[in-house]
């Protein structure tokens, strides 16, 4: 499992003596974790959720954005289990590369014109608009056969998976086991597609914060002296900034039309902004903990040894110290992902989360909350999204506790 493997990978880089110790440590922890029944169940649950989310396009589900208003607010149904669905227009799919190739040549032409306009400064706006239009047209052409069926914008891999799904299961799809929403879209498939975004958001944002936090903390701790002082002061200052407010402020400002347009041109959409901003918030605690670890580690024998072998500073930090921080990092990872996912749900509630036709669990839960009125409760619309979100976060929390206990019981109060 990831825990053991990555620790080993780190261990190889260390001096033999320490690496043996490291391995035994991680094996020990793994053994302890395996004894923890709740944590193991959680681990299995999380891994299966992740695999399912990854394989979603391959599963025989209905398309997540396929509206059938005739079936508005249909209650969960199990029979018949299979429903027919519209087939993928393979002819259109096979034609696409040709059309795209043609459009690409036009695009290069427009790009050239844009460059010219940039130099002369004339008609810049117009040239840019045309360029963007063409780019959008290419995207539309590629997505057209999938969009017809009600899929959101898909990446290359997902498109291949959707094609494979139609080859495998043909026109069969599972009936709406979790009911349907206002537009008659199938909640079950929306939950699966939502899982992809929610998990991705949680994971990527956490990793961003991890990268910042670990590096910052490690550098600060290793350098010591006034650098350490200054860097930690900075962290102290940031602690007092009400980040949720700043994030909302930022998201609304960056959502302003002209700015969003500009950002979109650089391939930055709201989710990317979210990754960066959240990553930029959650690294604070990480950097503090890592710094503490580094300070205690840097006087250990193997670091002294490396130093005496005239290893460069950065080599010592990145190859010798960082791998030893894995336990802290793992604990932090499992505890931060749920927080980030909750934060995304929170932003969805305010209408600042992912944008349709993309879905996330937070968005679904919010749609469910909106249709809760005392007059009629469409219970499936709130129950299933909360269940999905709640169960995943519960599992992550339990796993986080388990990993923490297993790796280092002393960290419990961290």
């Amino acid at each position: 499992m990831p825990t053991a493997r990555s620790t080993e990978a780190g261990g190889i880089l260390l001096t033999p003596q320490v690496s043996r110790k490291g391995m035994s440590l991680s094996q020990d922890a793994w053994r302890r974790l395996r004894k923890n029944r709740v944590a193991m169940i959680s681990l299995v649950a999380i891994v299966s959720i992740c695999i399912l989310a990854f394989l979603t396009p391959l599963l025989p589900l209905q398309a997540p954005d396929h509206a059938q208003t005739a079936l508005q607010y249909e209650e969960p149904t199990i029979s018949p289990f299979w429903l027919p669905t519209k087939p993928l227009d393979m002819e259109l799919v096979s034609q696409t590369p040709q059309v795209v190739a043609h459009l690409e040549t036009e695009l290069t032409d427009l790009k050239l014109r844009y460059e010219l306009a940039k130099q002369s400064g004339e008609n810049l706006d117009n040239a840019r608009r045309q360029l963007r239009r063409k780019e959008a047209e290419i995207q539309d052409t590629i997505q057209a056969p999938y969009r017809q069926l009600g899929y959101p914008s898909l990446g290359m891999l997902s498109r291949a998976m959707v094609r494979a799904r139609f080859a495998l299961f043909g026109n069969q799809c599972i009936n709406s086991l979790c009911g349907r929403d206002l537009l008659g879209r199938d909640l079950l498939s929306r939950l699966f597609w939502g899982a992809r975004i929610s998990l991705l958001v949680g994971l990527v944002a956490t990793i961003v914060s991890l990268v910042i936090g670990v590096n910052y903390g490690a550098i600060s701790g290793y350098c010591g002296g006034w650098i350490d002082d200054a860097m930690m002061r900075f962290v102290d200052v940031l602690y007092s900034v009400p980040f949720i407010f700043v994030v909302i402020f930022l998201l609304t400002i960056l959502g302003e039309d002209s700015i969003a347009d500009e950002l979109a041109y650089w391939g930055i959409n709201r989710i990317t902004v979210f990754f960066l901003v959240v990553g930029a918030i959650y690294w604070l605690t990480m950097s503090r903990v890592v710094r503490g670890q580094v300070i205690s580690l840097k006087h250990e024998l193997f670091v002294e040894a490396a130093r005496s072998l005239a290893a460069s500073q950065s080599r010592i930090i990145f190859l010798h110290l960082l791998p030893n921080l894995l336990s802290v990092v793992l604990v932090y990872l499992t505890l931060t992902i749920p927080r980030v996912m909750l934060f995304e749900a929170f932003l969805s509630f305010l209408g600042l989360g992912v944008e349709p036709p993309d879905v996330s669990w937070g968005l679904l839960a919010n749609e469910g909350i909106k249709v809760i009125t005392p007059v009629k409760i469409y219970w499936w619309l709130i129950l299933f999204p909360s269940l999905a979100l709640g169960a995943t976060l519960l599992a992550l929390n339990f796993l986080g506790d388990g990993v923490r206990d297993a790796l280092d019981p002393r960290l419990r109060d961290a």
């Binding site: 200052v237 007092s240 009400p242 949720i244 909302i248 749920p338 929170f346 509630f349 005392p374 909360s386």
Partner: protein, 305 residues
Amino acid sequence: MTSFMVRRLLWMAITLLVVYTVSFFLMRSVPGGPFDRERVLEPEIMKNIEKRYNLDKPLYQQYLIELGKVVRGDLGYSYKINDYTVNEVIAEGLPISVALGSLALIFATTLGLVAGVTSAVLRGTWGDVLLMLIATLGIALPNFVIAGICIILFVFLLPLFPAAGWGDFNQLVLPAFCLGAPYAAYIARIARTSMLDILSQDHIRTARAKGVGPLRLILVHALRGALLPVVSFLGPAVAGILTGSLVVEQIFAIPGLGSHFVQAALQKDYTLAMGLVLLYTLLLYVMNWLVDLSYALLDPRVELE
């Protein structure tokens, strides 16, 4: 002690300045402004307004002028609500948010402590598992979901509390509970852990051997030790409750700062939003500072650096 205070104040000023500067320039980078009307204004009128609000000056001068005002405590006019200044909005909203937050904090600590201690005492039984499951669920569910469920349960199925609004104590209970719930859950978990630690320590065993009754044992001997970790969680809890009120105030239509901020941000009322960001920075700083101070008072071993 004094130098500690002075240093803290200095850092606070710097933080506020940074937050202000960043938001000011972000705000000004957005097209449109306070005087965007549905009507097209006469050029003379537009120019006059720009002069009046110094918008015709270079950006750095505007920055300095505005900064001067903020330092004097004048946060300017709301872009969207003509009849109010930002200061007036804050003056109306702050007490409401503070009251809501205080009650939420009381809920969080009492419920959390009771649940945590009970769970530790009942260790290994179904009661323990159930309590901890509820606690973890409290952490795992977004609080707008918790609030929605609470409204259905306690407003309609069991008509105990009003659905929304502000004015009397009854209207405060449900929102304060929803706001405090996740923190009650955290506190329950922390209290349980530290309680278990203490129950296994020698002096408790000795006390038990001496024949101290179980209730007295828990309340007098064990609880004391279990409190400190809880107190140290209060800092983050206060910060969380302050910001968590964004959602809860929305759902329960409470006219506190959280609602004001969300509405201001969504309606692009940038002056109001910026004023509130500054205020929250200040509040958070003061809170952190108070928590640090209270450590020193509670635990003589901690010294203020």
